[in-house]
């Protein structure tokens, strides 16, 4: 209920923040939306000695298309993602995802950068970013580097970010014509983490065959899971009931959920299959099958 003591620092620039991270090392944590970190501190499961509040660094919250990418600033709030007309119209899969994260109050604070940087396999954006083959921009002492999202999630609560790096931008390639995607999540109630969820993004050619498929799975393993075999299987195929069912079977095989209060592993595997089927079907519809 009551978090342990810590010192609070409020850098005004990214270099200042990075140098504070370097100075305090593992005892420091970045505070962005705080909607994962503060609950953990209140339960005394996290006890950083230093909190580095990046909310006052200007220029970290934005949504814009630029250079073939949709660029989302690391500090962009989920509510702004949810309410962005650009995202709703052109990246419905991202809109779908933001909409089912937590609840309205949490979305007003929670950031997209924090959601990914937290490295929680139950968080929703990971799967969607995997389906979209996003790139993540990390800014540290040596400037910026870009990490492909498939290389980002290492294990539970561990990402490819260095201790002194800030996730400053998410880059989503602008989808080709005839692309579509969706995010389907099964939760026990609004505000719950996913029992299982599936992100699917497909691109079709003129004949209706799938030139590209991205499939990500939430809360079915130590990290968000990229269903690579299912993706590969779909390439070049028409998204009919048979191919979709087969891909769903493959995605299920790639998931590694464990049993918990949300249900036995076997159920979650079944959900991955079912949601993959539904998500691919919906994605194909949106792509204009």
């Amino acid at each position: 209920m009551i978090p342990p003591e810590f010192e609070y620092l409020r850098p005004a620039t990214i270099p200042e923040a990075v140098s504070l991270l370097q100075l305090h090392g593992d005892d420091a944590k970045i505070l962005s939306g705080g909607q994962s970190l503060i609950p953990m501190m209140k339960l005394r499961l996290a006890r950083p000695a230093w909190l580095i509040d990046i909310n006052h660094i200007p220029g970290l919250a934005y949504i814009r298309e630029e250079g073939g990418y949709l660029k989302i600033g690391g500090l962009t709030r989920e509510a702004d993602v949810e309410n962005s007309e650009l995202i709703r119209a052109k990246y419905p899969i991202v809109h779908d995802t933001a909409l089912v994260i937590a609840d309205p109050q949490v979305r007003n604070l929670a950031t997209m950068g924090g959601n990914l940087a937290h490295g929680d396999p139950a968080n929703d954006h990971g799967a969607t970013m995997l389906a979209l083959e996003a790139e993540l921009v990390a800014t540290g002492a040596n400037g910026q580097r870009t990490i492909a999202v498939r290389d980002f999630f290492l294990s539970i609560f561990t990402t490819a970010l260095e201790q002194d790096e800030i996730l400053t931008e998410i880059r989503i390639p602008v989808p080709a014509a005839r692309s579509g995607g969706t995010y389907l999540k099964l939760e026990r109630k609004v505000g719950d983490f996913a029992t299982a969820a599936v992100a699917a993004q497909v691109t079709l050619d003129a004949s209706g065959a799938c030139t590209k498929a991205g499939i990500g799975v939430t809360n079915a393993g130590p990290t968000p899971i990229k269903a690579g075999k299912a993706e590969a299987f779909l390439r070049g195929k028409r998204l009919d009931a048979a191919s979709v069912a087969q891909a769903a079977e493959l995605a299920m095989g790639e998931s590694q959920p464990s049993s918990d209060l949300r249900g036995p592993a076997e159920y979650k595997k079944g959900l991955v299959k079912e949601l993959t089927k539904r998500a691919l079907t919906r994605a194909a519809e949106r792509a204009g099958r």
Binding site: M1, I2, P3, P4, E5, F6, E7, Y8, R10, L31, G34, Q35, I38, P39, M41, K42, L43, L51, D53, N55, A79, A102, D103, P104, Q105, V106, N108, L109, V190, G191
Partner: protein
């Protein structure tokens, strides 16, 4: 002991200043430092929304936000809903439609509803239910809360057109 920070928060239109420990949660600032106890605490996992306040107009859960983070910002709580001795339409709506029983969830619920109506003056029932989905009520079953929000929406629109 951690270094304290001198903060300024505009709480319901009034400037409040205090030296606070970094770990002081906003809800405790509002309740214990500022002495405004209309904002309630109902859980320890950021789940119930009883603590909802408006931060620069947006609803947030004040149990999961440090007071230092609110430095220089504007907070609105249930105590700031009525103005010039006149109830806010949402308050009227809750009273007229029996949208409350024990009243514990009510302040947070009304603030979520106010934010919803500011964004979407004429919400559908589904939008209302979605808009208050971060607020738990254990007493009412929500049906009359939905009616209360509709009541307020109608009243606010009349206010606009008049």
């Amino acid at each position: 002991m951690a270094k304290t920070h001198h903060i300024h928060i505009r709480l319901n239109g009034v400037e409040k200043e205090a030296d606070v420990a970094p770990r002081l949660l906003l809800i405790h600032f509002i309740r214990d430092v500022a002495g405004q106890t209309g904002t309630h605490l109902g859980c320890d996992t950021t789940s119930c929304g009883a603590c909802t306040v408006l931060l620069d107009g947006r609803p947030i859960k004040s149990c999961t936000f440090f007071a230092v983070q609110a430095d220089g910002r504007e907070i609105r709580t249930v105590e700031g809903l009525a103005s010039d001795g006149k109830l806010h339409p949402i308050q009227e709506g809750f009273h007229q439609e029996h949208g409350l029983q024990c009243g514990f969830c009510t302040p947070g619920m009304m603030l979520s509803a106010v934010a919803l109506l500011e964004k979407n003056p004429n919400p559908t029932e589904a939008e209302i239910r979605w808009g208050i989905s971060g607020n738990l009520c254990r007493c009412t079953g929500y049906q009359n809360i939905v009616k209360a929000v509709q009541h307020a929406a109608a009243k606010m629109q009349k206010g606009v057109s008049a």
